[in-house]
Each structure stands twice: as structure tokens, then as C-alpha cells.
Amino acid sequence: MSIVMTSARDWFRRSPGLVAGACITVLFILMAMISLVWTPYDVTALDIGARLMPPDAAHWLGTNHLGRDVLSMIMVGARISILVALIAVGIGLIIGVPIGLAAAAMPGLIDDVVMRGSDLVFAFPALILAILITAVFGPSAVNAIIAIGVFNIPVFARLARGSALPIWKKHYVLSAMTAGKTRAEISFEHVLPNISHLLIVQGTIQFSLGILAEAGLSYVGLGAQPPMPSWGRMLAESQTMISFAPWLALFPGLAIFIFVLGLNLLGDGLRHRLDPRNDRAA
């Protein structure tokens, strides 16, 4: 495993995007974790005296119309964004990948049913379905997770099926069949490990899409509910005050932008590094 021994500088030289993306991602995750134990100010407390303060030494990123500290809200908001996106990706992986593997392992009826089913989900506009779910179950972070997660299922099912099909043509899979392994055993022992790099890359991409989707849902008021801060709602609330308090829109917007950019850089870098064709270390 010469990858492990390669120095950080070497990594940076070979894939600067990957290193930059990883740093940004780690930074945001750290920020979210710190917010669990400490934030500069309490994000639920009102402080009308300090309302709409521009960025200064006391409030680095300023305060909103209720006197809440924007930096603290962004830190806590990162938590909900990451949580929603992570669980949504998890739902996609845990349900979608086995479905895709099953479709690849059993061509014919199961394959057709699974793929037409995912076509159906794809055909639905994501936001409409999310509104539908929240209209039925009420707006909350949990329902946002479900809505976003449902859309990840066909993404991972298709990817798993598509990348598993060529593996099923490999001779080592045929050898495993002559060794009496069942299709399920082969799927988990031979197919899954050989498509995992693709799933990791897609997971990163879906994670960033999840961040965006969560921001979008809470922007229209269907995500996490007040007083829990979220980036999307911060943007929505800043809208009417953008002419005299532009920092209220600027900083949550930047947070979304930089985090999504970082995740995309990470995903792209991973795609490049994990692609066996680019693997000089193996």
C-alpha cells in the first residue's frame, strides 16, 4: 500500500482538487461537531438590542433581525445539512445498492421491475414529491431526509446495476458459480467490492446534492422547523433585508457554495484516484 506512504505533498501535487475538497469537507464537519458543544452565541436566544449588526469583532459574520449571531447559526445549520444529506445518502446506499445488485444478478423479470420502478421515481419532479411528502406528514427535518433519500434510491440502484453487469461477465464470477456460490453470495463477495469505488464517488456527489436539496427544501419552509437554524431558511429570511443587511444572505450562501464545491472536488478527485485505469500504485 504505497498510497498510505505517499507524503501529503505528493498527494497535493498529484491531485490538488482532492486535497482541497477533503480539507473543505473536514472543515465543515469539524464546524458542525464543535457546534454540538460550543457556539459563540446561543442560537435560540433573542437579543433585540444587537439586531442587524454588520460583521464586527463581537459578531464575526454579523447578526440577524432577532439579534442572533450568524456565525453560530451557520455552525448549527451545518449540522442539520450534514445530517440530512448523510442519512439521505445512507438510505440510497442501503436500499438502492442491494436492489441494483439483485437486478444485475437476476436478469429478466426482477431486473425489469426494478428498473421500470426507478424510471417511475426519476420521472417524478423531486421537489413536487418532497412537497407531497411534507404535505401529508408535515414539514420537518425527518421528512426532508425521507424525501431526499427516496430520490437517492434509484440513483444508487442504477449505478450498482450498471457497474455490476460487466462484473457478472468476468470469469471469476463464473468460477464462483462452479464453486457452488449462490447469486447473493457472489454479489456481496465478488461484485460489491469491485464496484465499491464507484459507489463511494457517487456517494460523495449525492451528498453534495443532498446539501443543496436540504437548503432548497428549508428555503421553501419544508425542512427543519424554527428555532432550529438551517442554511436554506436563513437565506429565505434574509430576502426582505438584502438591501440593508446583505451579510445575512451572503454568508449562508457562501457556506452552501463552498461546502458543495468542496464535496464536488472531493468526489471528482476520488473518481480520478479510485479509477483502476489511473491507479499507478497498484
Binding site: K170, H171, Y172, L174, S175, A176, M177, T178, A179, G180, K181, E189, H190, P193, N194, A282
Partner: protein, 545 residues
């Protein structure tokens, strides 16, 4: 006459590795120069260096002289004109060399259009002429066909037509017939010889097959470790005794053990009227799916301890038959018995018991193993078939045993497959097949991807295994030399049916069916009898693979 191309002290280095060193070669018009060597000897790199297609980071030294000009000093822009215009190239795999989305006529016309002043219409007319030159007259094979509508041999003719479209004086052919079966190979070789004689083209024919070279070449160059170690006209080449480097390129006949088989021994595998079908793509969603009979009523028997050969051209259904025998492809009708028990069956225990008795070694040593598993785990996989898999330490001993049995080391179990050469990987595949002590091992083109030296060693190993153990082998191949060297009995397959069956020696001496006769006649043979010097019991580990 002025030489078509001169290589002077051509060397090529990638990083610290010297891939080619001081290659000196002169190609004369109308002459075929054979460049022969093992895989990795540098023969393809020589071709790429001449075409300035060497991989990035390669440093090239020396001179490549075409009409007195050193090509190595030319800028890339001029190269685009030289390639295709004055030097034609034919690659091994005709399917990937052609654009699947363009008609063959258009692909030839494109070359003419780029390199000459012809209009598109004129180029298309000329393309028809080129097709005629390579034996694909437009009246029979329409230039409006797409590559997938042609056979492998026809595709290779199209590739050659593109290569000679601009009447180059030099043609470089890199393993032009390796992907083709013997009868097609003979036709393509005849075409190349005709082009060389009639049109005075200098041909550099690169191959690992000394038999092909001995029939084709006017001069033979043997390349080893990036150096030309032997360069002579064929008569002199073979008369003076073959150098050690050339010796290892010859498919040495094995020392055959005495015929021990009594035909009374019992059948271990019996197939009766087996039919396997494939579904063709649907024409429309309303019509029924058309099907294609890949195996059409085949009956065969494999005796205990016998080496049976199954030979046929690619696409004749022999691999499908192999998969059916292993229960990997469903049979539409007919019956397969393994050790007198019907196969495949739905009962899981009976199925596992049957599978223990029949194992397979595949052709491609690169896709045969999960790249993420260690060799020990790969070999142990068939233990899954045992009702009570042996305990860990026993497994360990068995793995060490089979590894040593196939000429590898016990500690190789802790390595990954990519650490081994092609020949060594096939040994690993054989070890995996052996671990459950099967009665039959099916070898599906198991030596076709190996170079001659590795092939000889793997066959010698199989020979000795069949002597030591009571295991039968079914050799499925298009390579007649494998059949001749190692099998007791041979089946000839054509279009899904067995057309001839008999004792191997008789089939080669007196082939009855016209197809068998054509197959044997087309197989290239060395114009010289090599001594039988490879000991059949030599299963020593091949370090050099």
C-alpha cells in the same frame, strides 16, 4: 533497390528501463520481414517507435530512415501525413481498429479523403477499388455494411484495405492474425503475401508464432529483451540450428505418455443430444424473441482419466457447450450426466456434489480472479462445495499442496493475482480447479492467451497432472497444436454440431470430414522439425513468464 525503411541503432527508454536497444533492421520493398519474440520482448514497441506512437515519456534514440529522411526528427504535424499515407499499420484486434458507427466504405474513403486531393465522391469510388484489392469485391460485400455485419477475417481485410489505401510502400502488421482462427488466418496471410509480391510493399510482420513466420517471411528477426538476437533468411535460420532465443518460441511437441486408456473405462461425463439456445435481440416488442442454437444436438462422453479435445473455429459453440457442461448455461433440451447423475439438478446438495466433480479453467488469465482477493482465498473458493469444509489449518495445507503441485510456492498464497505473470496465473487457475479433486477439468482455451514458452510449460504441467492423478481433461481450443500434443481423442465442432470424432492421431492422419481437412490444412506448421526437448515432467516454476 532502395530500402523501404532502415532502422539504425534504434533505442527506446521509458524512465530507467531500456525497452529497445540498438535495433538495426532494413526493410526491402516486396520483402516480408518477420519480427518474432515472446510477449514483452519489445516487438510491438518497435512498431510503435517506427510510427512515433510510443507512449508518453518514452525517449527514442537512433535513426528511422524513410527515403533517407530521419523520421524521428519530424514534428508531429508531418507525422499525421506520414501515418497512413506512407506507412500503413494493421493491428491485432480488427473490431477495435474500426469505428462501429461508420460503414466500411466510408472508413476507407476517409483515409483517402484526408491524404489526397480527391473529393468525397471520388474517395468513395476509390474505396471500392481498395476493397476489391483485399478480396472483398463490392458486388459481394457491400461497402455500405457496418463492421459488426462482417466476420473477423473480413474485418481484418477492411483494416488492411485502410492501411494500403494510399499505396504506402511500407506496411507494419502487429499480430494481424492472432485474434483469428486458423482457416481465416491462412487467408489473411495469403493476402499479405500477395500484396507484398504484387505491389512491391515492404511488410514488417510482427508475431509470436514462429510457424507463421517460417511460412511467410523472407527474413526472420528474433527479438529478445529489446535486442535483435538472430537475423537471417529462413533457410539459413533453420539450417544452422535455431538459437536458444528462437528455440523457446517453438511449440515443442510434448513427449507423449504411452496410450494407457482402455476404451472400456467408465464414462465420467456423458452428454446426450444437448441443445443450447441464445435469445437474439428482439425485433419488435410484439414479435416473439428469435433464438439461435449455439449448441445443436451434441452428444459426447468423457472417459475416466482421458484427455479429450474439442476443436472448432470461434463462434462454433464450443464455449457454450463447456458452460452447459458446468451448469453455467441452461440447456434447452437433452441430458447431461456427471458420474451417472443427472446435471444440473435442483437439489442443492446433489448439485454441490456434482460440481465438485467438474471444474473449469478459463482462457483469460486476467479476468479469472477477483483482483481484491489473495491467491489463497481464490484457490480455497471451491471448498464451498464441500458439505463440511475442511478446518482452517487443513485448508492451508491443501492450498500449499496444490500450489506446489502446479509449480508455484506455498507462500504465493499470500500474494495478489496481479503479482503473477500470465503463465503463473493459469497455474493458479489450475490449482483452483484441482483443489476439490475433481474427476474432470474443462480447459476453455486455457493456453490461448499465453505466449509459446508459457504455453509449453502449462501443457507440460497438465500432461504430468493427467499422469499423476485420475483426472480427465476436456481441452476446448481452436489451436490444433494443443489438440495434437496432449489429447487422446478429438471432437471437431462446426456450427453447433460435432462433425467428426475419433482418436487424435487418426484424425490428424486421416481427417474424414471436409471441415476437419480444411482446419488441418490451414494450420501453419514449421518448415522444419523441432527436436522434442521439453521434458513432460518439467513443471518447474517459470520465473521468466
Amino acid at each position: 533497390m532502395e530500402p523501404a525503411l532502415i532502422l539504425k541503432n534504434l533505442s527506446l527508454r521509458i524512465g530507467k528501463d531500456l525497452i529497445l536497444s540498438d535495433i538495426n533492421l532494413t526493410l526491402q520493398p516486396g520483402e516480408i520481414t518477420g519480427l518474432v519474440g515472446r510477449s514483452g520482448s519489445g516487438k510491438s514497441m518497435t512498431a510503435l517507435a517506427i510510427m512515433a506512437l510510443a507512449p508518453q515519456g518514452a525517449e527514442i534514440f537512433g535513426e528511422v530512415l524513410l527515403n533517407g529522411e530521419n523520421l524521428l526528427e519530424k514534428p508531429e504535424a508531418e507525422w499525421c501525413d506520414l501515418r497512413g499515407h506512407r506507412i500503413g499499420m494493421v493491428f491485432q484486434e480488427p473490431m477495435t481498429a474500426l469505428n462501429p458507427l461508420q460503414t466500411i466504405g466510408a472508413q476507407i474513403a476517409e483515409t483517402i479523403f484526408i491524404h489526397s486531393d480527391a473529393t468525397k465522391k471520388q474517395a468513395l469510388v476509390q474505396a471500392n477499388e481498395k476493397l476489391r484489392r483485399v478480396g472483398l469485391p463490392p458486388e459481394e460485400i457491400s461497402p455500405d455494411r457496418y463492421p459488426h455485419e462482417l466476420s473477423g477475417g473480413q474485418r481484418q481485410r477492411v483494416v488492411i484495405a485502410i492501411a494500403i489505401a494510399m499505396n504506402p510502400k511500407l506496411l507494419i502488421c502487429d499480430e494481424p492474425t492472432t485474434a483469428l482462427d486458423v482457416t481465416t488466418q491462412a487467408e489473411i496471410l495469403a493476402l499479405l503475401r500477395r500484396l507484398s509480391r504484387d505491389e512491391n510493399i515492404a511488410i514488417l510482420l510482427i508475431t509470436h508464432d514462429l510457424a507463421v513466420i517460417s511460412q511467410m517471411a523472407d527474413r526472420i528477426a528474433v527479438i529478445k529483451d529489446g535486442r535483435i538476437v538472430n537475423l537471417a533468411a529462413p533457410e539459413a535460420f533453420f539450417r544452422n540450428g535455431v538459437s536458444e532465443a528462437a528455440q523457446e518460441l517453438i511449440a515443442t511437441p510434448l513427449r507423449r505418455p504411452p496410450q494407457k486408456k482402455n476404451q472400456q473405462s467408465r464414462f465420467i461425463v456423458e452428454a446426450r443430444d444437448v441443445i443450447c439456445t441464445y435469445n437474439r435481440p428482439e425485433q419488435s416488442i410484439f414479435s416473439s424473441t428469435p433464438s439461435f442454437r449455439a449448441v445443436d444436438g451434441v452428444s459426447l462422453t468423457i472417459h475416466e482419466g482421458e484427455n479429450l479435445g474439442l476443436v472448432g473455429a470461434s463462434g462454433c459453440g464450443k464455449s457454450t457447450l463447456a458452460r452447459a457442461l458446468l451448469g453455467l448455461h441452461p440447456i434447452t433440451s437433452g441430458e447431461i450426466l456427471i458420474d451417472d447423475a443427472s446435471f444440473p439438478v435442483t437439489d442443492k446438495a446433489a448439485m454441490r456434489a456434482a460440481r465438485r466433480k467438474i471444474q473449469i479453467v478459463f482462457q483469460d488469465p486476467y479476468s479469472s480472479f477477483n483482483p481484491r482477493h489473495k491467491v489463497g482465498k481464490i484457490i480455497a473458493e471451491p471448498f464451498h462445495l464441500c458439505d463440511q469444509p475442511p478446518i482452517e489449518t487443513d485448508q492451508h495445507d491443501r492450498i500449499a499442496d496444490v500450489l506446489e503441485g502446479v509449480g508455484l510456492l506455498a507462500r504465493d498464497a499470500d500474494k495478489y493475482p496481479h503479482e503473477f505473470s500470465g503463465g503463473q496465473r493459469q497455474r493458479i487457475a489450475i490449482a483452483r480447479a484441482l483443489i476439490t479433486d475433481p474427476a474432470v477439468i474443462v480447459l476453455d482455451e486455457a493456453t490461448s492467451a499465453l505466449d509459446i514458452t508459457a504455453r509449453n510449460r502449462v501443457l507440460a504441467l497438465l500432461q504430468s497432472l493427467s499422469g499423476d492423478r485420475r483426472v480427465s481433461f476436456l481441452f476446448i481450443t481452436h489451436d490444433l497444436s494443443v489438440i495434437r500434443d496432449i489429447t487422446d481423442r478429438t471432437l471437431v465442432m462446426k456450427s453447433g454440431q460435432i462433425v467428426e470424432e475419433g482418436v487424435t492421431e487418426n484424425i490428424f492422419a486421416k481427417p474424414q470430414h471436409a471441415y476437419t481437412q480444411a482446419l488441418i490444412a490451414a494450420a501453419p506448421t514449421l518448415k522444419w522439425a523441432p527436436p522434442s526437448n521439453l521434458d513432460a515432467s518439467d513443471t518447474s516454476r517459470d520465473h521468466v513468464d
